[in-house]
């Protein structure tokens, strides 16, 4: 509700369409009365049509595929057309609400700002009629019981005028009307009678903190689904809830599986006991989450069949359907699956939330800088130790900087993936796992800080949020980001190509970078040595003649000794030995024009 209060203007108020009198006349002239049962039968016929089309699809006859596709389009046009004859926008019954609420507010001596955002919701005409009375009773009850008197609101640090929001939207197979307010809330026990009258017309009433959701099932039996396999069982997922399908490594955040997409942590739900990498990202009204699946199959248009009483209590399913191959599959309910993550999602935003909840218990923060600019803070609980390390002792393995520290191997991390200097000493923060070290430029202080609500949201995944400490904007570091971060291998494998021939300087790099390496080319040994001091190379490729000085420099210098140097030559190693004498300095020789061999050698030596 806080958000709502800050930006009430973004919510469009309800507009009533005024139809010119001339047009109204024609509308009346052109309409006919139809029995609802007739429309219902037509809808059933369309469902059967879709089922039959699905069976045809399974015959797998190439000649049939185009007409079957056409048949599908016709069926969905028919369904939409028929639905249109039955539905009307919800706004039609709310058009007089501004006035009603105004009157009610006066009656109860309360001040209320009403916002209505229901433009996208359409409902069956009959249901709409039946909804009128219970809906206005419910609103009246909210104004009476939930919204406080202006005086009480002021003494509770609230705005004098309460906010009442009526919002509605269509979900895959239901319409949701959400009524929320910033009052003290309406207890379910006070609205039992109203709850019953909603249930009588087939709607469900869900009570949330300061929000009541009225869920009305849609008379929409045909939907598009994506079929997936989880643990050898096939399921269907409503297509309207699917955001995307992706395949990426699962990370753990607070022991809960997540994936990262565009710097956002998306919590995962699993219906099987093991984790899989195929993930369907599902979006419901208030949650976005991933569902782990073993296999993604087809998109199909299906007819939803209701579940028997024995299965209705399982909230995870919204129905079942018969696919073209005559097998039954269950349709998963994304809204119920989302509830499985609701708590987990809280834990992801956890750290700050925890501090907010325990406001009186101040938390200790370590303040530090990573460069000369802004101040960062890390909760003391996330830190195991502070230390100083010798940067020249940092080694690299599979793209990860590591350091032998006491008796463990410490992963060395930097903010923004900054390059780790090769020499000198640096302050590090060893995180709570005792295995992750964060390089920082200076440690400032440890302070006691009380988190208030004035945190600033940040988009950088390295930080949970920003807050003001001692008058300075400070980023709160997300320790979990570093604890769970995987090394980015391609970035750190930087290869230098040194050749005095301009042709080979252009000939080689495309193949090497195509294999996922970063390439720097130079034409002389002097320039190569200069580069050595500026970058962190995993491997050097040098012309065996003009690069001799370079390989000698590398192998005689402790700092660069470990970098493998590959000689480029048109001769074999033995031939080179006889011609050049002391060539053992090179780690390998490869023919200049043999791309495949070059890539193979690089990958062997870098690994």
């Amino acid at each position: 509700m806080d958000v709502l209060l800050q930006e009430p203007k973004t919510i469009e108020t309800n507009k009533t369409e005024i139809i010119p009198p001339t047009l109204q006349k024609t509308v009346i002239k052109d309409s006919v009365r139809v029995k609802l049962t007739d429309l219902d039968r037509l809808m059933q016929n369309i469902s059967d049509l879709v089922s039959t089309r699905n069976q045809l699809l399974h015959l797998n006859n190439n000649q049939l595929s185009t007409p079957i596709k056409k048949l599908g389009h016709i069926a969905s046009d028919l369904q939409n057309g028929l639905l249109k004859t039955r539905t009307r926008p919800l706004s039609t019954i709310l058009s007089s609400y501004q006035k009603t609420i105004h009157n009610l507010a006066q009656e109860f001596n309360k001040k209320i700002n009403l916002y209505i955002d229901v433009d996208s919701a359409f409902l069956d005409r009959l249901i709409l009629e039946q909804l009128k009375a219970p809906l206005s009773q419910l609103v009246r009850l909210i104004i009476d019981l939930s919204i406080e008197m202006p005086v009480d609101r002021l003494s509770n640090d609230k705005d004098e005028a309460a906010t009442l929001l009526i919002k509605a939207y269509n979900e895959s197979n239901q319409t949701v009307i959400q009524i929320s307010d910033d009052g003290k809330g309406l207890a379910e026990t006070n609205a039992l009678e109203i709850k019953n009258s909603f249930e009588k017309i087939g709607a469900r009433l869900d009570f949330d903190t300061n929000a009541i959701n009225i869920k009305i099932p849609l008379n929409l039996p045909i939907i598009s689904v994506l079929t997936v396999v989880i643990d050898h069982v096939k399921y269907a997922l409503p297509f309207t809830s699917i955001n995307s399908v992706c395949n990426r490594p699962i990370e753990l955040l607070n022991n809960e599986p997540i994936i990262r997409v565009n710097n956002t942590s998306i919590p995962l739900v699993s219906l099987s006991s093991r984790n899989t990498n195929s993930i369907i990202i599902l979006k419901t009204v208030d949650t976005i989450f991933g569902l782990m699946v073993d296999e993604v199959q087809n998109i199909e248009e299906i007819v939803i069949k209701p579940l028997s009483r024995a299965l209705q209590s399982i909230q995870e399913y919204m129905g079942a359907t018969i696919l073209g191959d005559d097998n039954v599959v269950m349709i998963l309910n994304p809204n119920t699956l989302a509830k499985k993550v609701a708590n987990k999602q809280l834990t992801i935003k956890n750290q700050i939330e925890k501090y907010k909840a325990a406001e009186r218990a101040k938390s200790s923060l370590l303040l530090f800088k990573i460069d000369n600019s802004s101040v960062k803070a890390l909760p003391i609980e996330a830190i195991k130790r502070l230390d100083e390390i010798d940067l020249s002792k940092v080694e690299y393995t599979s793209g990860q900087a590591v350091l032998q520290y006491k008796d463990v191997i410490l992963r060395i991390m930097t903010f923004n993936d900054a390059k780790i200097p090769k020499t000198g000493f640096s302050q590090i923060i060893i995180l709570s796992d005792g295995k992750t070290g964060l390089i920082v430029s200076s440690i400032l202080d440890i302070i006691e800080h009380e988190f208030d609500s004035k945190t600033i949201a940040v988009t950088n995944p390295q930080y949970i949020s920003a807050t003001v400490i001692n008058g300075v904007t400070t980023d709160i570091v997300d320790a979990n980001y570093f604890l769970t971060k995987q090394p980015t291998i391609t970035k750190t494998n930087h290869i230098m190509v040194m050749d005095d021939s301009a042709f080979f300087r252009r000939f080689l790099p495309p193949a090497i970078s195509a294999a996922g390496y970063e390439v720097t080319t130079v034409d002389t040994a002097e320039k190569a040595i200069e580069q050595l001091h500026m970058n962190n190379f995993s491997l050097i490729i040098a012309d065996s003649k003009s690069g001799f000085e370079l390989v000698k420099y590398c192998k005689e210098n402790d700092q660069f000794k470990s970098i493998p140097v590959v000689g480029l030559s048109s001769f074999s190693l033995d031939e080179v030995k006889s011609k050049l004498g002391d060539v053992q300095l090179f780690d390998a020789f490869i023919p200049k024009t043999h791309h495949a061999k070059i890539i193979k050698t690089i990958s062997e030596l870098v690994a």
């Binding site: 089922s51 219906l271 028997s308 299965l311």
Partner: protein, 117 residues
Amino acid sequence: MSHLLFKLGTQYFRFPIGQVKDVLPIPSITKIPLANKEILGVFNLRGEIVTAIDLATILEKETLSPSMIIVTEFANDLYGLIVDKVDCITDSPDESITILHPDELLSKYFKTSAETY
């Protein structure tokens, strides 16, 4: 009145024929994770979805080799009860064979399972 005789484990039972909608060999059943253990899954019977129920579990009996499904209707839904063997339809059954009424069984089942939720 006619009865359908069937075998569950080592014991014979009978259903009033009026409550039997169909008898068929066990088809391919779609498993439903998260459902009660009595519910074996759902299957397609000529375009209708039938919920397959393990009769033995409801009756707390043992099955030997389940092979047939007896379909019955309850509260507008179709249920398939799994049995070992369907014997015959008879007008003069052996009075010593226990009569079961599918609707009673199911309504009792819903009552008890509702309590557990």
